[in-house]
């Protein structure tokens, strides 16, 4: 009985002493929470997409708190966030307010338009397949159709379409640009959401070269160039290029394009609202 009491009592006293010690240390040497980091963190979107280049929103908050990043460090938050961050950082937001950026997949060579030359068997990732005979795709510039972009998309805005190409649900897109970075053929460009007329082909090949592998590519026929009332369409070799600064989104080029390489994009109504556009132009695709 006595032994039991000694043991129990001893442990009790020991626990008391150690607990007191812990409390003492905690009071004397508290870990100061970086309140600044938390305040930055509260502003950030919290999707942890990594688009800023850091490991996530917590990491970016820490970078911001150290003053090592500017108000536009987060590509997802847009102008609204940039303004808030600028206030917090005590500086004026640099640059002008621009339309949010959305990904444009500059290839329309789906399974039907550009049938594969071979059957690809290997790692199911575009970045691995690109060095393996282009994953059997016919066009060396076009989409590999293995879905690396939509698998990398942190919000699910980019999804696989029926023809193997990525499809954008613009309302869900935060404009983080991860899809653009993972694409091994650099087919995805981050594009201002209000510039909805785009060339969806990156092949510099001649008309015959494009037609041999794809029915939806830009053949360099120049019809868009000729029809454009404001001279916004130019040619880079055999590839049409639209000067966004001049384009008035009339859509004349979209009408004349024989292969459908020039399209009207971001057709989703929600996105138009986001971009502050009127809903005059119906149709188009995302």
């Amino acid at each position: 009985m006595e032994e039991m009491l000694t043991a129990t009592g001893g442990l009790f006293v020991l626990g008391l002493l150690l607990g007191a010690g812990l409390e003492l240390v905690n009071r004397r040497f508290p870990v100061r929470k970086e309140g600044k980091v938390d305040r930055f963190r509260a502003l950030l979107p919290g999707v942890n997409c990594g688009a800023c280049g850091t490991a996530g929103c917590d990491a970016l908050a820490a970078v911001l708190a150290r003053g090592e990043a500017g108000p536009r460090a987060c590509p997802v938050g847009g102008e609204e966030l940039a303004g808030k961050l600028a206030v917090m950082l005590g500086i004026a937001p640099a640059g002008e307010a621009a339309a949010p950026l959305l990904p444009v997949v500059r290839c329309r060579g789906g399974r039907v338009a550009s049938p594969a030359r071979g059957i690809y068997r290997g790692i199911g990732d575009c970045r691995a397949a690109v060095g393996t005979g282009g994953g059997g795709t016919a066009c060396v510039h076009g989409c590999l159709r293995l879905g690396t972009c939509w698998e990398a998309c942190p919000t699910g805005a980019l999804r696989g379409g029926g023809d193997g190409l990525p499809v954008l649900q613009a309302a869900a897109c935060t404009g983080c640009g991860i899809c653009a970075r993972v694409c091994p053929r650099n087919l995805i460009a981050m594009h201002p959401a209000d510039k909805t007329v785009q060339v969806r082909c990156l092949s510099p090949a001649t008309g015959a070269g494009v037609r041999a592998v794809c029915s939806a590519g830009c053949t360099g026929c120049r019809r868009c160039e000729k029809v454009c009332p404001v001279g916004a369409v130019g040619m880079t070799g055999f590839l049409a290029a639209i000067d966004d600064a001049r384009c008035r989104l009339c859509g004349a080029c979209v009408e004349v394009c024989p292969t459908g390489a020039v399209v009207r994009a971001f057709g989703c109504a929600a996105e138009r609202e986001r971009a502050g556009l009127s809903l005059t132009n119906q149709g188009g695709e995302a």
Binding site: T54, A69, P75, G122, R127, A128, G133, A208
Partner: protein, 427 residues
């Protein structure tokens, strides 16, 4: 020096060695890529509809690129882009064979260049071991550099291929002459001919031809893959390694394929490089063997000539370890085409989890840890993968060959290489 890592193949993977080199007939049409070396295409010198003589220069580049020749006499029918075996698109010239424009007209060929690099450039000689690097660029050294050892690579980089072996048997004297010409160009001290131990006849043939001479000697190499890789060959023959990030010539050695030496010998006689020996094999091929094929002949035409037993499931250009699988046969034979393999099995073994058996580590001749490179890459941890030196991988495929879990090691290391070249900076 003992061979490090690598794999030994069963003997039955080295067949067709007894078949002499056979010439294929002139193809009715060739598609000659304007390829004179890596980087950019050669400048085209002919127009559509133009008549060209066999051996006429149709493409030229600056000092970096070797010339490209018409490999048949005929008419340029189309200027197009073709797919090279490695998958790149490249401008090419299609020539339909026809009658010679005028008999006895010999004004088209220019006088052979005086120096060996100029000659190699003029005669369109690229390394024939598979990499197709312009010979003249390997021959031109900066002032003060000295090459002491020239190694002729007769090690047949891959199983199933036997072109180099047949050349050593059938064109022994010419190969040695070419090798001695390279030796003379460098004012080097020693000429080695590296031949794998199990190619006894070739060793004997070259020994006979050198007659025990002191300037050229045969080195019997261990029959272990990848013995034909440049770095591995240097290590075995000279007992030293080429330090990382250093060109072989900086350590005083220059390695050339035996086919390249033969091409040098021919070039000295005024003949440009128009054809090469290609091993055509695989289960789907009726008459496997070694064939002399004109550059620019399409794979489809070559397979038609040698006959197919059945439709191949997979068509390789190169050997089974490093060769490129072709989506279709509309690809021309190039100066780097060592073999054409038509296989009837097209499956890709399904990977199972890595059990860390270390077979890949043991097999790697570069001293890498392929399992880590693969694991990090497939998880998207490219920075960690880059810390495991993907750039040192020679892509010999020994790791994937031995892997019991069928992990896609080589493909992921290739991916890791790409990614380490395009790291995005922190915003």
């Amino acid at each position: 020096m003992r061979f490090r890592g690598g794999v030994a193949f069963p003997r039955e993977l080295k067949p067709f060695a007894d078949r002499p080199i056979t010439g294929l007939p002139e193809p009715a049409e060739v598609l000659v890529p304007l390829y004179g070396g890596p980087g950019k295409p050669c400048r085209r010198l002919v127009e559509r509809g133009e008549r060209v003589e066999e051996g006429a220069v149709i493409g030229e580049g600056d000092a970096e690129l070797a010339a490209v020749h018409a490999t048949v006499t005929g008419t340029v029918t189309r200027l197009e882009t073709c797919r090279l075996p490695a998958g790149d698109e490249w401008p090419a010239v299609r020539i339909r064979r026809g009658e010679s424009a005028a008999h006895g007209q010999e004004g088209t060929s220019r006088a052979p260049a005086a120096t060996l690099p100029d000659l190699a450039c003029q005669m369109g000689i690229l390394g024939l071991g598979g990499a197709a690097f312009p010979l003249h660029r390997k021959l031109r050294l900066p002032a003060g550099a000295q090459v002491d050892d020239v190694i002729l690579n007769g090690a047949e980089c891959e199983p199933c291929l036997s072109g180099d072996y047949r050349l050593l048997l059938e064109r022994t004297a010419e190969i040695l002459a070419g090798g001695l010409r390279i030796l003379a160009h460098f004012r080097a001290k020693r000429l080695w001919v590296g031949i794998e131990q199990d190619r006894e006849r070739a060793i004997a043939a070259v020994r006979r031809a050198t007659g025990g001479g002191r300037r050229a000697r045969v080195f019997a190499l261990p029959a272990r893959y990848p013995q034909g890789a440049e770095k591995q060959l240097v290590r075995t023959v000279l007992g030293r390694e080429i330090p990382r990030g250093v060109y072989p010539w900086q350590t005083g050695v220059s390695v050339h394929n035996v086919g390249t030496a033969l091409a040098v010998s021919r070039a000295m006689a005024g003949q440009p490089l128009l054809a090469r020996v290609v091993t055509v094999a695989g289960e789907a091929v009726r008459e496997p063997g070694n064939y002399l094929v004109k550059i620019g002949a399409s794979l489809a035409w070559v397979l038609e000539q040698v006959g197919l037993k059945e439709r191949p499931e997979k068509l390789l250009v190169g050997g089974p370890m490093m060769g490129f699988a072709q989506a279709d046969a509309n690809v021309p034979v190039t100066k780097g085409t060592t073999g054409i393999l038509a296989l009837t099995a097209g499956e890709w073994p399904q990977p199972t989890p890595c059990v860390r058996c270390s077979a890949c580590v043991e097999a790697c001749p570069a001293g890498l840890l392929p399992l880590y490179l693969e694991g990090y890459t497939l998880k998207g941890l490219f920075a960690q993968a880059a810390a495991h030196h993907p750039g040192d991988c020679i892509e010999c495929g020994a790791c994937s060959y031995v892997c019991p879990a069928h992990r896609p090691l080589v493909q992921s290391i290739r991916w890791a290489k790409r990614e380490s070249g395009r790291r995005s900076p922190v915003a």
